[in-house]
Amino acid sequence: MQGFQKVSCPVGFSWANLKAELRAIWDSNVKVWKIELAYPLSFLRQCVQPLVMLLPFLLYGLVLVGGRYSEALQGLLGTLNPVDVVTYIFTGYMVMGFIGTAIWGMGFSIRREQWFGTLESIYVTPTSRLSLVLGMALHSTMHQSISVTIEFLVIYAVFGLALNVQGILPALTIFALMMFALYGFGVLISALALFLKEGWIVAEGLYSILMILSPVAYPLAVLPNVARQASGVFPTGAALIGMRSFLMEGYPPQGVGTIFLHLLALDAAWILFGILVFYLVDRYIRRRGSLGKY
């Protein structure tokens, strides 16, 4: 052992280990920022992309109703006045961007390391693999927040938004609860990407399905009964209904307690399920020796 220096790493449920993992998460986030900012034009395009994808929903909605307010939507939602379609779509699509965070940002964090040729090096470090995924989650959430800010500023300047300012704080609380469940979902996707390698089809498929099952641009009432039931499994449905009830003027008040409980249950379920699947897949691919395979 001469010439080697023993390095002791904090392990288990200790404060030192928690600090080390938090630093790994932060460093992982900083690393992705550095890579991303090395390509400023690409970064700019990615920041503007959600706005570009939102515009067709808005313009299409405005053409359909021939103005800003929809009486049919009022009937479906039970609001006091006809619903402002711009505010309705904006609040929905804003959340949809964070689903992309979970699926693409977190889900492909490990796969991306494989493309860069750094996956094996990361695997032999004494850090938890989940820290890498959570680092990506932190980065993606920050990145998406920039995109949402751009979306908000442009839509506010061009179309105007009728948002209830007092409702921002409770809406943010609901949003945070939704994000925890989405992080669990993202961990699950990253496990799938590790296992399936070319998991983009699964990711894109899940994103498309979530887009249909979430009340982004329409209330769940227009979905068939089975789809409505299925949407309850994902946090976006409950979160959007809760957030809109705080953010939109005249939106019927919802059972806030029920929404919070629903989201808390989904948080626990998705986080536990995601971590469980991640560890199972992680162990399986290491035993098979297929970690480095494409």
Binding site: Y39, L41, S42, R45, Q49, V52, L55, P56, F57, L59, Y60, G61, L62, V63, L64, V65, G66, G67, S70, E71, A72, L73, G75, L76, V85, E198, I201, E204, G205, S208, I209, M211, I212, V216, A217, Y218, P219, A221, V222, L223
Partner: protein
């Protein structure tokens, strides 16, 4: 001289055929990719159908008819989605094909082969056209069965002509993209930007008239705009082909310009890249 010409034609046809077969083999090796491109474009326009239903309380909108000419927004959106999938496959299929060859490590061999590289790209474009049309036909069949889209036999040939003209224009643009990726490597962001321009400025989800006038100007240089107007006029508004002569003529002009520019740019970039010795750079 005649013998040389015929030999050239035969060898170039063989290059195109080989490229087509190679790409088809790739496609068949990944059946999940095939299923994805057949099914998921339908999932992308379903939210728009549900949104329409929620916003107007039915499947027809008189306000929509004022701009689109038809109150039926469902077939409007479906046709937009299907034709837009040609944009996606041309930009990512042909436009990024050169980049993919670089990833596979085969670009150097392709560019050093003693043939006109344009025919390799034509082969790639042909295979993309075939696969895109297979996806589009499957999507259309699904939409006829589940969304009540109607198509009469009489409009099939004019629609095929319009789609061929659309494909030619798109592949001209994709050639330019391939040329840029040859020289500047990371053309992925450019492909995304072009996709966004097509998506927002063409009447994929809404009529062009709903856009501000400066945006309508942008839409006039996009081949998808004319293809969508022509196909919808024939299929939804039941117009005669004589009513869409203008759109067909403009599509033809765009095709000629785009293909000429595409080939010119590609040959120029190929020369420059070879001279700079950066073919195998990433």
């Amino acid at each position: 001289m005649n013998w040389n010409l015929s030999q050239n034609l035969t060898s170039n046809s063989y290059i195109m055929w080989s490229e087509l077969v190679k790409n088809m083999k790739f496609l068949m090796a990944y059946p999940a990719v095939f299923v994805f491109w057949t099914i998921f474009p339908i999932f992308w326009f379903i939210p728009f159908i549900l949104q329409g239903q929620a916003f107007v309380g039915g499947l027809q909108s008189p306000e929509f008819a004022k701009l689109a000419g038809t109150p039926n927004f469902v077939p409007f959106v479906i046709l937009g989605g299907i034709l837009n999938s040609y944009v996606l496959t041309s930009l990512y299929g042909v436009g990024e094909s050169i980049r993919r060859e670089a990833y596979r490590g085969t670009l150097d061999y392709l560019l050093s082969s003693p043939c006109n590289k344009a025919f390799i790209l034509i082969g790639k474009a042909l295979s993309e056209s075939i696969s895109s049309t297979m996806y589009a036909i499957t999507q259309l069949v699904v939409c006829i069965l589940f969304f009540g889209i109607e198509i009469t036999l009489g409009v099939i040939m004019p629609i095929l002509l319009i789609i061929i003209l659309l494909i030619l224009g798109l592949y001209g643009i994709a050639l330019m993209l391939a040329a840029i990726s040859l020289r500047y490597k990371q053309a992925h962001d450019l492909a995304h930007t072009l996709e966004n321009i097509f998506y927002v400025f063409s009447p994929v989800r809404y009529p062009v008239q709903s856009l501000p006038s400066w945006a309508q100007m942008v839409s006039t240089i996009l081949p998808l705009t004319y293809a969508l107007i022509a196909v919808r006029s024939l299929m939804l508004l039941k117009y005669n082909i004589t009513a869409v002569y203008y759109e067909i003529l403009v599509l033809f002009i765009i095709d000629v310009v785009a293909i000429f520019l595409g080939f010119y740019l590609f040959n120029w970039m190929e020369e420059r890249t070879k001279k700079s010795g950066t073919i195998s750079h990433y």
